[in-house]
Amino acid sequence: MGFFLVMKAEVVRTLIIMRRYWFATIIGILVGYGFLMMLISAFMTNSGRFKELTDEALSSVLGFIVGMFAFGIVGLFSQGLQGMARTGQLEQVCTSPHGLVTNFLARSFVSAVTSIFSLSIVLFLVTVTLKGKITATPGPTVALLFLTYCNLIGFGFMVGGLVLVFKQVGQIAMLLRMGLFALAIIAGKEIVNWPSLLRWIAHALPITDASICLKLVLIDGLGYRVFVQPSFLFLIINCALWTVIGISLFKLMENWSRAKGTLGAY
């Protein structure tokens, strides 16, 4: 119940801010689109193989967008949490009777939905410009997005828990976010050819298999067949592990932070 109440509050807040700052919202989407198109143009012009590269470019664009999604969600638990602590809002959230975990679950869910909405517009615009094709089979797409979200919040909770106690972790979290961002772009079917140690590390990270599965559905049009892919299995395992580890660690760190007297403060 608490989750839905916080979610409702967050949805209302987000909608009000989006409506009130509609110009900034639209400009944000346009900047994202422009930035991506600039990268793609530079890449294609240099390679001189415009037509053949459409699928490859779209795969990178999708990776880029999934990376941005990961960057945003994990950011909510690192720099976002630090920012809230700096302004004092975190102390208010900590005194909410729903608890910090429920609050952040609901916040991250709303943030994820908002990100998916705006990033989908960017993806659509880029696809149309490149005359490419995106196959968004609803069932697998929604399922994959949900699992990606669960994976990321698990990881985010782990980072957020560490940020609650060790404030300097915020800077390391920035590196991790950038790592996830890069991984989302380069992750693909070719992962099987990677050196085994690197491959296992990549599988253990929350974005690799999510990115591969999304690319398989949206670019390769695999549809429901994605559920029998090895990457989907890794995604499920990752999802269970990261969520349990993340939330447990976050609760542990929240208690430690309370004992240290730094909960909610920066």
């Binding site: 209302v12 807040r13 004092g88 009777p97 729903h98 007297g261």
Partner: protein
């Protein structure tokens, strides 16, 4: 746990440990590879707040006031002792206890600036489990009560500091909690905003039977609105008394006599019940300050004798006043008497 108290802080202590690597000692200026510091922020603090009571927690900077507020609101875990809110152990039933507490912490940006006060209350209402019609009605009621009804649709970033502080109090009250914790509620506010907040806190406490804890540096605020006052220094609660008792307890029986001319102070010093005489010249005569005995009978006799002596010596008496004790004097006397280091290396 006494059922009549909405807040009960029972022998609560909080010790903070900080660890430093490559630490430079400020006193000796020597560097150490590793240093551990222990700070006692709260040392066996014990007090209770009844419904309809404003309890003031006073103390110098770093005395442990905010730590105490944070322990009551569950933000800081006590090293020992128990905090009860409305009969609930804050450590064991934290989330339930939080439903009964509204907190305004010092200097925090409680509200969301791109939203209006009404939208802020809707947001925080949902966070605190208040919904629908009740939330809408309560939001408007609170904004009217605190005097922000004209600004309910103005974005918070356009409001003044005082208006934001009033909104912070509304946010703390949105779930109608029986306990309200206000950490430095009037710091940095203009006289008018400070006045409104003081009046509203008292009104709300009396009419709605809330238990209010106020921490403040402003002795005027404490003296005006608090029913009882606890003075905290170096983490220890050095006194906890009803405000009048505290003033009475430290009341100096000092009287000021303004006369045209008088030179015979030894005669006054010899009067039974007079403990000290100070003479200070004034533009229009002399100010005689006399410290009298605390015993009522003896003091009364001494006053008559002093007046008769002045008349007999031909000194024209212009006025007699009893020097009023202020909370600030009491506070300074109590806290200056408290010494010792709170930090151990």
């Amino acid at each position: 746990m006494n059922n009549h108290n909405l807040v009960e802080v029972a022998k609560v202590a909080k010790v903070f440990h900080t660890r430093h690597f490559f630490h430079r000692d400020e006193e000796t200026n020597k560097r150490r590879i590793y240093a551990k510091h222990t700070v006692v922020a709260a040392d066996n603090i014990e007090f209770a707040i009844k419904p309809g009571e404003v309890f003031g927690l006073l103390g110098p900077n770093g005395a442990g006031k905010t730590t105490t507020v944070k322990m009551i609101s569950g933000l800081v875990k006590p090293s020992s002792g128990v905090v009860y809110v409305d009969g609930l152990n804050v450590e064991k039933k934290r989330l339930k206890a939080l439903r009964r507490i509204g907190v305004v912490l010092e200097g925090t940006r409680t509200s969301i600036w791109p939203l209006t006060p009404l939208e802020n209350l809707a947001y925080f209402g949902n966070l605190k489990d208040v919904r629908g019609r009740v939330l809408r009605a309560r939001s408007r009621e609170l904004l009217k009560f605190i005097g922000l009804q004209d600004k309910m649709n103005v974005q918070v970033r356009r409001l003044s500091r005082g208006q934001r502080q009033k909104l912070a109090i509304c946010i703390a009250l949105i779930a109608d909690p029986p306990v309200l914790l206000l950490d430095e509620p009037t710091t940095g506010l203009d006289v008018q905003s400070s006045r409104t907040i003081k009046d509203k806190v008292v009104e709300m406490t009396r009419e709605q039977g809330k238990a209010v804890l106020v921490t403040t540096h402003d002795m005027g605020v404490a003296q005006e609105i608090c029913d009882r006052i606890g003075i905290i220094s170096h983490g220890r609660l050095i006194t906890c008394e009803p405000t009048e008792n505290l003033l009475e307890l430290f009341a100096e029986q000092t009287y000021e006599f303004r006369v045209d001319e008088f030179a015979d102070t030894p005669t006054l010093e010899a009067v039974p019940g007079v403990h000290g005489v100070r003479v200070a010249p004034e533009p229009e005569g002399i100010l005689l300050t006399l410290d009298l005995d605390s015993d009522t009978e003896l003091r009364s006799e001494a006053l008559y004798t002093v007046i008769e002596t002045l008349r007999a010596r031909g000194a024209r008496l212009r006025s007699v006043t009893q020097k009023q004790q202020t909370l600030e004097n009491v506070f300074l006397r109590l806290t200056s008497a408290e010494g010792g280091s709170q930090t151990k290396g």
